[in-house]
Symmetry: C2
Subunit: 408 residues, 2 copies
């Protein structure tokens, strides 16, 4: 009973933070006031449980239970992120953080005495919604990206990452979270597809993350008058872009992969002017690294070919590419065995993928999403499934922090 109330109370606390009154979606971009409020909330929830939260120089957070366990015993970290995509859903990220807190409560109620420390963590800018680099917090912490590379990244208003972090009252020179004590990472997340619906089960464990990435397409043409310029005299980059967006969709559909143009920026973006520049970002994902490279190559080739016909020029830049992540198979099998849960792949990137790439044995627990919709105000999970997720996470953590073998 107390877990049920605790989870739902925490969920209600978070509901209004960064929410759009018009769409009902969330705008919890990193280093904004909404995200600052979420960071404070996490600190308060940890304090309420007698845990001390450490916030690093860019806003990553961790609080350890039993930090004084023998240092020879590496700990178990669980958590997720609190930032959202633009106009995102309530579950993507926060479900993993709230479930981590609720699972801790459950372990204590059960009288579990951990043999190793248990950390609750939050990573910043997982979505890359502000600075375009997904999983930026975990990438910095693991060293996959350096602060020197990242600090000059700019948001859509031209604000540099270094200045945004500074304006949020954080000090990168204070250092980043240490993962030295993390022997295993477990991230609970709402499913972003319908595998669990199809299998009629509330909880699953991840096998792998598809390789994926973001590519910027700059289509340059020549600005001109929309009325007086004969159609045959134009160098209109909007046409090159439009054909590329359709080609990307077709290519992905035929290959059983994913390709999306969800973000576009047009210069000068006036109704009565042929654009001078259309910039569009391709999100592409595939079942293997080779398939992803082939997919992006095919889209780029068709864009180039059309640019030749339109008299426009294409510059294609890979902004971030993540290879396939195979989670620790033994760990996945061991955890899946606890509840007889299915082991399923995902096409979505996660901090768990970054930590796994860094050599930390990592697992993910998914909670059923009845429609599969995510990155949308319509994203949803039933409360009963969320509570089943908390129970599952508590079971997993009990297994990992107990006196038995840890992550491996």
């Amino acid at each position: 009973m107390s877990t049920r109330r605790g989870f739902e109370e925490m969920w209600r606390d978070l509901a209004p933070v960064g929410r759009s009154a018009s769409s009902g979606g969330y705008f919890r971009q990193p280093w904004t006031s909404a995200e600052g409020e979420l960071r404070s909330w996490f600190g308060e929830e940890c304090a309420r449980r007698g845990l001390t939260v450490e916030t690093d120089g860019i806003g990553n957070q961790v609080a350890w239970w039993h930090p004084d366990a023998p240092t020879s015993a590496k700990g178990v970290l669980t958590g997720s992120h609190l930032d959202s995509v633009l106009d995102g859903g309530a579950y993507d990220g926060p479900l993993g953080v709230v479930s981590a807190l609720a699972a801790l409560d459950l372990l204590r109620e059960r009288g579990v005495t951990p043999a190793r420390p248990l950390g609750l963590g939050v990573f910043v800018e997982e979505e890359g919604s502000r600075f375009g680099r997904a999983c930026l917090g975990s990438r910095l912490v693991t060293g996959a990206t350096t602060w020197e590379q990242a600090r000059e990244l700019r948001d859509r208003e031209g604000v540099a990452l270094g200045d945004a972090v500074d304006a949020a009252g954080l000090d990168p020179s204070a250092g980043l979270l240490s993962l030295d004590r993390v022997g295993t990472f477990v991230e609970l997340h709402v499913e972003q597809g319908r595998d669990l619906v199809d299998r009629d089960v509330a909880v699953g464990v991840a096998s792998e993350i598809w390789p994926h990435g973001r590519w910027r397409f700059d289509f340059a043409g020549q600005a001109n008058h929309a009325g007086t310029t004969r159609m045959e005299d134009r160098h209109d980059p909007m046409l090159t872009y439009a054909m590329t967006a359709l080609a990307a969709n077709k290519q992905a559909r035929l290959a059983g992969q994913r390709a999306t143009f969800g973000r576009v920026s047009v210069e000068p973006n006036g109704t009565n002017a042929v654009p001078s520049l259309v910039t569009a970002w391709l999100d592409a994902r595939a079942s293997s690294d080779d398939a992803l490279a082939e997919l992006v190559d095919a889209i780029g080739r068709q864009a180039e070919e059309r640019a030749g016909r339109d008299g426009t020029a294409l510059t294609l830049t890979a902004e971030s590419v993540s290879g396939s992540v195979a989670f620790d198979a033994d760990l996945a099998a061991r955890l899946a065995g606890i509840g007889g849960w299915p082991v399923i792949p995902t096409q979505a990137g996660h901090d768990a993928g970054i930590l796994s790439d860094a050599g930390i044995p990592t697992a993910m627990v998914f909670v059923r999403n009845p429609t599969g919709v995510s990155h949308s105000p319509d994203e949803h999970a039933e409360t009963a499934d969320c509570l089943a997720g908390v129970e599952a996470l508590a079971d997993v953590l009990a297994e990992l922090v107990g006196p038995g073998p840890a992550g491996r």
Copy 2:
């Protein structure tokens, strides 16, 4: 000689106002500081010539030479606009205003004694670049649009027109420019095509303006995760838009008309999300009212058909539609006869079209544009052609304000 110096001096004065250091293009949006500077400049140039400028409640301006001529004699108004499209060229608008001032100087040098008043005028928001309604100043002055309809228009930042005008230190309750004394309107403008280049002549006179308009296409879909959502499960409005942009181009090409999507807005515009909404503005123009209606219908039908296949929903809204304008044919023939200039049509809208629609005999003088490029930082006219334009305008005005018959 003095005209040549005067024109070039004025041109140099204007060159830096509202200019982008990166593109070299102009951002002279109405009721911004750049446009306020241009309004002051026009007042000073009029004062330098001993003329008193009247600025109306929304920023339209006029200065009369010989205002004390018998009130029975209707006057001749000449001028253009000083605002620009986003990232526009230097000539579109300002060439007509600077040429009006230089032509006045030339008439005085020639010792012309006008039999009727000659007005120099500037209309605000001709491009519709801020509030989406082209020729807004002249529409308000002629009553084609009422202040009550216009005041609630909003710019891209959500600022209402009424508030923007107020913030610019203007007071709409002070009233609008009166056209009661305007018997004839003449607007000099840089050509926005290459008819004069093809005819190897520096100056031409307008016969007509093609019918044209702006239509907003709202393509509504369902936001979703760009990685996990199967291609076949999507309702992606970007695809519907992309196909529509290509269809518009093809349709206009086949029919010898014009159709452009130069402005697009995407919600939420995140790289890793299928958009929930794509809004795009169609600029369409055709050689007859029927041809324009057919063109827009054909584009709308193809968009609807594709929306059906994509599972998206289209809302099509006509934001402004201007029927064809046939300028006063006798006046055009009479003025063309002065210099043996060709009489040519244009696909571009102008304040001249609005005044013509309001029943004022109206003519346009075009100055050769070597590339035809307009609504672009690359827009250009040779100084020799601009000076030929000033001479032509002075000849036209001398004919119209002289003791002979006026506009008709």
